[in-house]
């Protein structure tokens, strides 16, 4: 049953109530540390009883000045900072940033590197959506989902650790390639993970999809129309939940996404439930993509070999060859050398389109680096969606928007 909260004559009703019961509007600060804000977001709510009449999100509690920092370090030095944007999918951020800078350098990376990056992105997407679902479940009162999804995330972390040396802050890409090749047997383990993951995913989704409590709290709640979704710059599952088939992996394919077959799930009503369904289906599609990559995993180099002034040479070469030694020294101290120019690149991250606008004046340091973060844009619709909702629905809406404050505040 979809709950209907129709308050046609809201103002008149509240006026009458105010006169009769001498009530007045209440101001409530939800956050900055509230379980459902998933970080440090503060919602300054104005309430009329249980109904939100005004919502003002207050951001910036996690602002670290990443854009300023980027202007003061070389391109490779900034990679670890991208881990801390959407810290639930650091690999996807690494890849998006590396591709943006490579676009500036007009550099093409080999097929093997692209394939590794696609696997990284899709595994990161699965891991981010699993957390999103788990946390959303907790928000609306379904605890068990969290336990199942975190077990799967743990398996993914093991894979990430094997690949990058770190579970969480991976810093895996370099400009012109990735930090190291895939370890032996890693692809098989990824394949095995995919095989065992799909049945468990069904189990996880079954816990929610037909769960009466869950459907009651999500269906018909937080409806975002197609026009609003585009107007407010929503991207990712939040936009697709509103019925817009916008996916940069299909629309502007990068990193070899063109060769893989996958579908883009879209919602019909644009409510919280649709956004949840989109995330669930996206994980299945991610598995599909990963399997295709593994099937035709290209051989060859994992970095652009002709980019001698951009990708630091291998250690054994550095120790034996003079030219490589000099290159390694220059790349480490001065940064990978870039031409002057402006580029804007967006990648389809788990949360939406993560964009990097880079202004270069040449050399190893960006002159200006603007990060267009999907969570920032996705949150900007909150004042509109929360208007007229119940306080408990605000929790549901927040969970369904699935944002990360590290990325929102930068």
């Amino acid at each position: 049953m979809a709950t209907e909260y129709a308050f046609p004559d809201n103002a008149a009703k509240t006026d009458a109530a105010a006169q009769e019961f001498q009530t007045e509007k209440m101001s409530l600060a939800m956050g900055p540390s509230h379980p459902s804000t998933h970080g440090v977001l503060r919602l300054q709510l104005e309430l009329d009883g249980e109904i939100v009449t005004h919502c003002d999100p207050i951001l910036g509690y996690l602002h670290r000045g990443d854009e300023k920092i980027a202007e003061n370090m070389t391109y490779n030095q900034f990679v670890p900072y991208t881990d801390r944007l959407d810290y639930l999918a650091p690999l996807a951020n690494n890849v998006a940033y590396a591709i943006a800078v490579e676009k500036l350098a007009n550099l093409k990376v080999p097929a093997r590197c692209e394939a590794i990056r696609v696997i990284c992105c899709e595994l990161a997407r699965i891991s981010a959506h699993l957390l999103g679902l788990g946390a959303y479940g907790i928000d609306v009162g379904a605890w068990s989902v969290f336990l199942y999804s975190f077990e799967e995330r743990e398996k993914l972390y093991k894979l990430f650790e094997e690949l990058t040396g770190a579970r969480f802050t991976t810093s895996y890409t370099r400009i012109g390639g990735v930090a190291r090749d895939v370890p032996e047997g890693w692809n098989d383990r990824v394949g095995k993970f995919c095989d065992q993951f799909l049945p468990i995913l069904e189990e996880i989704l079954n816990l929610l999809t037909r769960n009466k409590i869950f459907t009651d709290r999500t269906q018909g709640v937080g409806i975002i129309s197609r026009e609003d979704a585009i107007g407010y710059g929503l991207t990712g599952p939040n936009l697709r939940g509103s019925g817009v088939a916008f996916d940069l992996r299909k629309d502007k394919p990068y990193s070899g996404y063109k060769q893989y077959e996958f579908d883009i799930p879209v919602g019909t009503t644009g409510d919280c439930y649709d956004r949840y369904l989109c995330r669930g289906e996206e994980m299945r599609q991610s598995v599909r993509i990963v399997r295709q990559v593994l099937k035709n995993f290209p051989s060859g180099a994992y970095y652009a070999e002709d980019a001698k002034k951009i990708f630091a040479p291998r250690k054994d070469k550095v120790l034996t060859s003079m030219e490589e030694l000099i290159n390694n020294f220059m790349i480490t101290t001065e940064g990978p050398q870039m031409p002057a120019g402006e580029v804007y690149f967006e990648a389809e991250n788990p949360k939406g389109a993560l964009g990097f606008f880079i202004v270069s004046k040449g050399g190893g340091v960006p002159y200006r680096l603007k990060i267009r973060s999907p969570s920032f844009c996705n949150l900007s619709i909150l004042p509109k969606v929360c208007q007229g909702a119940l306080v408990s629905d605000v929790v549901s809406i927040l969970g369904s928007l699935d944002f990360v404050m590290g990325e929102c505040d930068r």
Binding site: G60, Y344, F376
Partner: protein, 209 residues
């Protein structure tokens, strides 16, 4: 599918003052700042660039004139292409740009952020408050004359600041890792802070400024 050459040509025909802007990827145009809103509207209505991706600004340097350039990126969900529109702000001291938040509500927050970090004021913006820094913060941190370490300021809560004397302190750079500066090759000259070891976490910065 809209061909990108068409868009730039059509825009230049409609707005004769538009000049091509050097770009590494997408079609880009420089426009006089007064024509930006009309141009973006034209892009949206005639060429289906329905998605405002990003609004930001560039500080071209303290000495540069014009100092601030505002940049808009629009995307077409039907044609799958981006267009970049850039416009120089007239005044270097009080840069002003027109708002597009009435066309795309997403611009509301992007413009607030640009105002917050770079100090570009958006005319007729419905609610031009700071968004990432706190209300009452006196600086615009992404400007080039704002030091990376930060500037000592009172806490967001002035009462607490007055009572305790606590302030927001500049970050000690401790010799790195910020070692380079755009376009300059000599790093010792380019980033003197990196070599300034006269102060750190334990020792206060000498009060010379």
């Amino acid at each position: 599918m809209t061909a990108t050459a068409d868009v730039t040509a059509a825009l230049q025909a409609k707005f004769p003052a538009a000049t091509p802007r050097p770009s590494g990827d997408h079609p880009a145009l420089n426009l006089p700042i007064v024509e930006v809103v009309a141009a973006l509207k034209y892009l949206r209505d005639e060429f289906a660039y329905d998605f405002l991706v990003d609004v930001t600004a560039i500080d071209n340097g303290v000495e540069a004139t014009p100092r601030f350039t505002t940049v808009w990126h629009v995307y077409s969900t039907a044609g799958h292409g981006y267009v970049r529109i850039a416009a120089d702000c007239a005044s270097d001291e009080n840069p002003v740009a027109p708002t597009v938040s009435h066309i795309w509500p997403t611009a509301n927050w992007h413009e607030r952020e640009t105002y917050d970090l770079l100090g570009v004021k958006f005319e007729k913006h419905p609610d031009l408050r700071r968004i990432l820094m706190w209300d009452g913060y006196p600086y615009h941190p992404l400007r080039k004359d704002f030091p990376l370490a930060g500037i000592q300021t009172p806490l967001p809560d002035l009462e607490v600041s007055e009572l305790t004397g606590a302030t927001v302190k500049p970050a000690p750079m401790a010799g790195g890792p910020f070692v380079a500066s755009p376009g300059e090759m000599n790093m010792t000259d380019a980033e003197p802070r990196a070599k300034d070891e006269s102060w750190n976490e334990r020792r206060e910065k000498p009060a010379s400024e």
